[in-house]
Structure formats: C-alpha cells, structure tokens
C-alpha cells in the first residue's frame, strides 16, 4: 500500500504538467456537468414549490353536524397519501375571501348571509402530488355523504405532471449525455497518462511485476485526479452559483450530499477510467 501510494505520487512529481492537465480536464468536464446539475436542482425546486400548491378542497354540505365533519377529518388524515387535512369553517372561508379578494371587498362586506360553505383542505405528501393520486384521494373523499363537491384543478395537476415528466426526461437524457462526454474526456486524459508510462509498465512486467502491482498505482492516481478534479469542479460550480445569485436570480446550491456526490463521481470516473485504460494496456503489451 505504501509502495502503491509512493508510485502514484511519483507520477504527479514526474509529469506535473500532464497531471495538472488531467485534473483540469476532469474539473472542467465535471464543471459542465455540475452547471447542468445546478439547473436541474433549481428547476426541481421551482417544480416543488408549484407542487406545494396542489390541494384538494372538499366542500361540505351546509348543516352537516360538526362531529361528522371532525370524524371525516380524522379519516382523511389517516389516508396514506395525506400530509395535512384542515377544516375551514364558513366564517373562516369568508374572512379569507375578504382578505384575498380585495376587489370584492364591498360586495362581501354587504352580505347578509354567508354564502360560502365550510370545507376540508387536503395537502398530499410529496411524491403523491400527481394527477392519479390526487384524483384517487378526491374520489375517496367524495364518498363521504356530506361532501357536496370535491375540487382539485384536474387540468392544472395534469399539466404539472407533464411538466414534471418532461423535466425528468430532459434531465436524464441531457445529464446522461454530459456524463458520457465527461467520462470519455476523462478516460482519454487518463489513457494519455498510461501511454506516457508504457515503457515503464513494460519494464515493470519484465522484472516480474504482477498486473495487480502495475495497476494499483494507476488506480490510486486516477482516483486522486478524479477527486481533485471533482473538488475543483465543485468550487467552480459554487463560484458560478454565487455569480448567478448576485446578478441573475435567486437560486439554490447543491445539498451537502449532492456536492459530495459530484466529488465522488469524479473519483469514480478517475478510478474506472484508469482501470479500463491500464487493463487494455496490460492486455495489449
């Protein structure tokens, strides 16, 4: 292990330029991927905040005893999809309407009788905020006898669904394309490092080095390069995020796990890139 580490470090000392070039290449490939990742993350945030507004409102028939409503509220809260279920009384509905519908303030003030029904407002748990689940919950709720009508903006939820699917598809395809490009570029860079040491590899084998012995320093070195490249890419992404935040729009950065994933991805590509190019080289020589 010591020896592996020493040999891996020697490469950086011996070919500093090529090593720096590898790290830079890896960094920029991953930076592009990181930028795309930022777009995805922020798009997802935006979608989530829209999703938060997905809501099912069940209007209650006037004159329904409060006990029945309370029981129904409990039942609805027990639905596996439901995050919160809230009872909104007639009065509350009116107060809200007065606050929200400013244009109709006069009309609302002059009402003799409250025309607004009480309702149960249901929010679904994340992951259930799509058309199918919303419709299913609405369907179940309309089964209660005292429910007059259930609304959830079917068209709107369906459109949100499509948007979400589109975003996911684009994210996967473009993300995969970027990842493949990054892998190819990084693989090529690492291949250069391996070819540069072809003579050395040949000599190692002549004096009786096993393939594993030849391979290990390259794997370590590839992983270190990938790790460094990933870290630099993360730094660049963060700089880009700061700039965007200051001059363009409020956005969010990767979570700690996502940031770690980028660096780990770099290390893994570095490792796999080295493994395949050394493997190929060893087979060929």
């Amino acid at each position: 292990m010591n020896l592996t580490f020493r040999e891996a470090m020697l490469t950086f000392k011996r070919a500093p330029l090529l090593s720096a070039l590898s790290v830079t290449t890896i960094a920029f490939s991953l930076f592009v991927l990181g930028l795309f990742g930022l777009v995805v993350v922020n798009l997802q945030d935006a979608l989530h905040s829209v999703e938060e507004r997905v809501e099912i409102v069940a209007y209650i028939l006037p004159g329904t005893p409060i006990e029945a409503t309370a029981q129904a509220l409990k039942d609805v809260e027990a639905f596996p999809e439901v995050q919160t279920a809230m009872y909104v009384s007639e009065e509350e509905a009116l107060t809200r309407a007065r606050a929200e519908l400013v244009e109709f303030r006069d009309v609302l003030r002059e009402l003799e009788r409250n025309p607004l029904p009480a309702s149960i407002e249901v929010k679904l748990k994340p992951g259930f905020r799509d058309a199918d689940h919303v419709a299913a919950v609405a369907e179940r709720m309309s089964g209660f006898g005292f429910i007059d009508d259930v609304r959830f903006g079917r068209d709107w939820v369906e459109r949100l669904d499509r948007l979400r699917q589109l975003a996911a598809a684009v994210g996967i395809v473009v993300g995969a394309a970027f990842a493949v490009v990054a892998i190819i570029i990084i693989g090529t860079t690492i291949r250069m490092a391996v070819l540069q040491r072809g003579r050395e590899i040949a000599i190692m084998r002549l004096v009786g080095a096993t393939d594993g012995f030849v391979r290990r320093p390259f794997l370590l070195q590839g992983a270190i390069k990938g790790l460094l490249g990933g870290a630099v890419a993360l730094g660049l992404s963060f700089a880009a995020y700061l700039l965007i935040n200051r001059y363009l729009l409020q956005s969010s950065f990767f979570t700690q796990e996502e940031a770690l994933a980028i660096v780990a991805f770099g290390a893994i590509i570095g490792l796999l890139g080295s493994a395949t190019s050394v493997g190929r080289h060893l087979k060929r020589v």
Binding site: R14, I203, L206, V207
Partner: protein, 231 residues
C-alpha cells in the same frame, strides 16, 4: 532448466520465426545464442521469458511449461529469471539504486532487506560508488551494469542477456562480458544472445547458432568447428 522441444513459432503475419528448435540448457551452464539479426535469437529469448508462446512444440523453463502457463504465473517465472537487453531498459527518472530496488519491490520483498541487497549487487557489478546516479549520468557500460544488477538482485537461476554488448564500445563490452562470466562462475546459468563472434571465440562456452529460424549448429551436440560460420 530451459528445454525447447520441436518449437515452431509463426509470425503473426505469416511465415515462421522459429522452425523446429530443440535444445536443453542445464543449470549453471553458459550458452551463446548466435546468428544474424533476424535469425530468431530474440524470439527464443521471448519464449524463455514467456513474452511469447510457441505455436507448436514445448518450452519449459525452471519448472514452468510456457505453452500452458496461466498469465498470472508469468510474473513468478520472470522473478526466477534476470533479463538484460541491448538498450538497458532502465527507468530514466530513478537512480541506479532505485532502478535495482524497483525489481525487488515489485516482488513484494520486505523493505527492510531491500537496501542491503541492492548495495550488494551494485558492489558486485562494480557500481556501488554510483548508486545515486541517474541513468543519463552513466556511460553505456555503466548503465548495462545497473541493468545486470537489477537482473541479479532477485537471485535468478538464469540470466538472459539479449545482445547485452550491442550498444557498447569494445572496452565496455569486455567489462560486461567478464561480469557475465563471473556471474556464471558463481552458479547462475547465462544465456547470451549475440552476433559478436569475437566474444564467442574468446570463451569455451556452448554455442547455439540460428539461421533463418532454424537451429543449424549446437556445440553440445554437433562436431566442433574450427571456423565459425560467417556472422
């Protein structure tokens, strides 16, 4: 020790590099492998250190059957051999000492023993004073001595030398050849491929001569010759 039985080796693009070669080199023997360039000397060497496999026939080297050995056994075979080339094949960015130590490290030798073993072989080849020198700071003869030290450090049973004096001037050639003789005198078998007949005539060793891939003369089997055939 080294046994070739009816070995044929085809070139990848057709034609035969070796035709029906059979010989046996015993433990502790010194044998010259002679012939023009292209006669097949290097191919014989490569078969011995399992860089190539015979197309047909059998090659056995210190207990291994080169025909059917598993790839992972190849390094184990090579550790029993010392290999020296015309172009030295030293690692340019390591000192003489590091080049020799490398051959030990590769085998997983205990690091506490490496330094002493390296100095011992460098002393044996007469280069102890230049242990810290890089290959570019050494003459051709000195570089070849480092290569020989590297070949010896694993205490091989056979030393393979493929045109070890091909790049050296006369003085260095004599020195390196003497070194190989000393090594042989201490019990290591030496197979030396060369087309330098002056060297071959100097010593009373066995001569195996190849011509266009065929074995045309073996002093251990054939009648002695007064006059060596051209090369």
């Amino acid at each position: 020790m080294i046994k070739f039985s009816n070995v044929f080796k085809a070139f990848p693009k057709g034609g035969l590099a070796l035709k029906d070669i059979s010989f046996h080199i015993a433990k502790g023997e010194f044998a010259f492998l002679t012939g023009h360039s292209g006669a097949g000397k290097s191919t014989v060497m490569k078969l011995i250190y399992a860089d190539e496999r015979p197309t047909s026939g059998e090659v056995r080297v210190s207990g291994y059957n080169v025909n059917e050995m598993r790839p992972r056994d190849v390094p184990l075979l090579r550790r029993k051999l010392g290999i020296v080339f015309q172009d030295f094949r030293l690692l340019e960015d390591r000192t003489a000492e590091e080049n020799v130590a490398f051959a030990l490290e590769v085998t997983g030798a205990r690091s506490s023993t490496i330094a002493a073993r390296v100095m011992r072989v460098l002393t044996q080849v007469g280069l102890a004073a230049k242990a810290q020198a890089y290959p570019r700071e050494l003459s051709g003869g000195e570089q070849q001595r480092v290569a020989i030290a590297r070949a010896l450090v694993n205490e091989p049973t056979v030393l393979l030398a493929d045109e070890p004096t091909g790049n050296l001037d006369e003085r260095a050639t004599r020195g390196v050849f003497q070194l190989l003789r000393d090594i042989n005198a201490s019990g290591t078998a030496v197979v030396m491929a060369t087309h330098d007949l002056d060297i071959v005539r100097q010593a009373p060793y066995r001569v195996i001569e190849l011509q266009e891939g065929a074995l045309v003369y073996d002093s251990a089997v054939d009648e002695p010759r007064d006059q060596m055939a051209t090369p």
